[in-house]
């Protein structure tokens, strides 16, 4: 057990699955000697060699396609797309091929691959390196989508994702990667967190906050701050958004009667629209106030720090949202 950052925990998970299963290999741009754009794969090249840690040309479509092809013929690739925005360059291979192979083949094939990628803004990378595209991936049947919020979860979910027999989009938040503030005790060796299980990260009775990835951390902060004013928020970390653990969400909403969804993606057409819609369908009567979404503004993620911070939900906006759902402002 040692204190690891999010990035270190993911690396640790990768190392574990590579040791346990020789079908697992890594493929991506500059992931070898260089260790990846964020240094996440540092050391893996030295440990596992060039056959299993494969640097590629800048060819996102071929990387994704080759992973799908390797997966369907018996391997278990973990591919890195440097920034999630770049999946756009390989979208056909992802949405039309990898996601659909099993269904199109009448269930006679499986495509066990994990697409790891750095998602989200808040690091000043501008419009092409900061988007949150979970709504796009989660809309496609055949894909699973994982969004870990902390090191412990990240490692356990990564291991589950690699053992899963489906294409899994593993969205890592680049702001969490090296942030010591969120470092955690992470067990050594293998442990798993099931895909499709949300976790209540904070118990509370006044209101349910549903979030994933970095927004869980910000929501916890907001909850903590408001607890000083006697407001007791529950924070549900979805962890996996597809499959979506709507039961855990409903149980929380049933208890609190109030729902705030927090996400970083542009609000229009966002994933939390799905969560709210399902909650409404299933639990209209539980709710004693309209649910609210705190989300990214409806523009590309701008470069300038001051604009970017305004675009992405922060603790203050979340607190405002909480108060609004509670009818306190």
């Amino acid at each position: 057990m040692s204190e690891l950052t999010y990035l270190e925990a993911i690396r640790d998970g990768i190392r574990e699955v590579m040791k346990e299963d020789e079908r697992v290999f890594l493929i991506g741009e500059d992931i070898g000697l260089y260790g990846g754009s964020f240094g996440l794969t540092n050391g893996l090249f030295a440990e596992f060699g060039a056959e299993r840690v494969r640097d590629t040309p800048i060819s996102e479509a071929a990387i994704i396609g080759a992973s799908a092809g390797a997966a369907v013929t018996g391997m278990r690739p973990i591919l890195e797309i440097m920034f999630s925005d770049f999946t756009a360059c390989g979208m056909d291979q992802l949405l039309n091929q990898a996601a659909k192979i099993r269904y199109m083949f009448g269930g006679k094939a499986k495509v066990p691959m994990v697409l790891r990628t750095a998602s989200g803004g808040g690091a000043g990378f501008g419009p092409h390196h900061s988007q949150s595209w979970e709504a796009i991936f989660a809309h496609i049947p055949g894909l699973k989508v994982v969004m870990p919020s902390c090191p412990y979860d990240a490692k356990g979910l990564l291991i589950s994702a690699v053992r899963d027999n489906n294409p899994v989009i593993f969205l890592e938040h680049k702001v969490l990667y090296k942030n010591k503030k969120y470092a955690q005790e992470v067990p050594e060796g293998i442990y798993t967190i099931p895909l499709g299980k949300a976790e209540v990260k904070r118990q509370g009775k006044d209101l349910s906050i549903v979030a994933s990835s970095y927004m869980v951390q910000k929501s916890l902060e907001a909850a903590e701050e408001l607890s000083k004013q006697g407001i007791d928020c529950e924070v549900v970390d979805l962890r996996t958004i597809r499959p979506l653990d709507i039961d855990t969400v409903m149980a929380s909403v049933e208890k609190t009667g109030k729902l705030l969804c927090v996400e970083e993606a542009c609000s229009f057409g966002s994933f939390m629209g799905e969560v709210i819609t399902q909650v409404i369908e299933k639990g209209f009567d539980y709710l004693d106030a309209p649910p609210i979404r705190i989300a990214g503004k409806n523009c590309p993620v701008p470069y300038s720090y001051i604009l970017e911070q305004e675009m992405i939900p922060n603790v203050d906006r979340i607190k405002d949202g909480i108060l609004k759902v509670l009818g306190k402002n």
């Binding site: 290999f25 369907v72 013929t73 027999n165």
Partner: protein, 348 residues
């Protein structure tokens, strides 16, 4: 065998016979008679399969669309006979021929085509998605070029597993203008993957002649961009196809792949179910028909004394029977159960 002596096909201005510049050993002559006969049988099966599909189209039983392989049979059959049963292939939208040549079950294919629940994909895929893991066929594809990345991945598996398998990715002429072609062949080149991209240059992508969608003389010239081996061959001559693929499969197995083969051929029918064929003349089609790959191979086998006229007839009749049986099976098969709709989306 009748040579294409005067052919001025849409893409090349020289004669097909001029393609002989690239010499490979004649392994065909060493084949057992059974295999030579088997090859003719498969060609007939493909031809009659597609003609049966045309009947289903007329009867309104092919929903959506489908793409016939008539006229291109030498490619699938020649190539498949040059590799092993457990070598993976990846096909494309015009995939029936590859499927049959890879020895798929004709009944299950036909059932899939008319949307039956016991078809290869349980009716979920249809013509453009038939795949058969049992015969190492990674499937047709509705996206032009969509299978190329998958082909790279399959050959990467071979390399990682250190076996000597080879993968053939069948691709159309027009698909080589899609970015995935470039990325796939480059990646395969950098990693020396055992992959053959077998490009069936049937002169058109839908209505667009290949000479209008690219300015190069031969698609195999694109090998220069990846420093891989490549060649253009007569794709209506099954002996050429067999010998060339045999040769390059060996090259790949030795770790000297990938390879880009361009095979000149012609689709005798329209692009898909609906096609008024305004983009070409009847005359052009007729001229190409003179070089029909089945007629040529049949004549060649007879002329070289490998089979008799009579045997040839029997082979053809047997193929027709096989297809009739497949069609009957398909028609008699049940439609999918509605409970199957949302299964097979995820694996356990």
């Amino acid at each position: 065998m009748k040579e294409c002596t005067v052919r001025e096909c849409t893409i090349i201005k020289e004669k097909l016979t001029d393609l002989k510049e690239y010499k490979v050993a004649d392994r065909f002559k060493d084949l057992k008679k059974e295999q030579k006969v088997e090859m003719l049988k498969r060609m007939f099966q493909i031809r009659y399969f597609e003609m049966e599909v045309e009947q289903f189209i007329l009867k309104g039983q092919i929903y959506g669309t489908c793409h016939l392989y008539i006229g291109e049979e030498a490619n699938a059959v020649g190539a498949m006979n040059a590799i092993r049963k457990n070598d993976w292939i990846v096909s494309h939208h015009r995939g029936h021929g590859h499927c049959i040549a890879k020895e798929a079950d004709l009944k299950l294919m036909m059932a899939e085509l008319i949307g039956k629940g016991n078809g290869y994909c349980k009716g979920k895929g249809g013509s453009m998605h038939i795949a058969d893991m049992d015969t190492y066929n990674l499937g047709a594809n509705g996206i032009v070029g969509g299978g190329m990345g998958v082909a790279v991945g399959a050959s990467l598996t071979n390399k990682l597993k250190k076996n000597d398998g080879v993968v053939i990715g069948f691709i159309g002429d027009a698909s080589t203008n899609n970015g995935i072609f470039h990325e796939s062949l480059n990646l395969a080149s950098v990693w020396d993957l055992p992959l053959i991209f077998y490009c069936e240059n049937n002169q058109y992508g839908m209505s667009t002649p290949i000479i209008k969608s690219t300015r190069i003389k031969r698609i195999s010239d694109r090998k220069a961009s990846y420093n891989v081996k490549g060649v253009t061959i007569d794709g209506n001559n099954i002996v050429d196809v067999f010998n060339t693929v045999s040769h390059f499969a060996e090259v790949c197995r030795k770790g000297e792949g990938p390879v880009l083969i361009e095979a000149l051929t012609y689709r005798q029918r329209g692009h898909s179910k609906h096609d008024s064929q305004v983009y070409r003349t009847k005359d052009e089609v007729e001229q190409w028909k003179e070089y029909d790959p089945i007629v040529r191979y049949r004549e060649f086998l007879i002329e070289s004394g490998i089979i008799s006229e009579d045997e040839a007839k029997k082979i053809e009749e047997k193929a027709i029977e096989d297809i009739k049986a497949a069609a009957a099976f398909a028609e008699a098969s049940p439609y999918p159960d509605l409970s199957e709709l949302e299964t097979d989306v995820y694996a356990d």
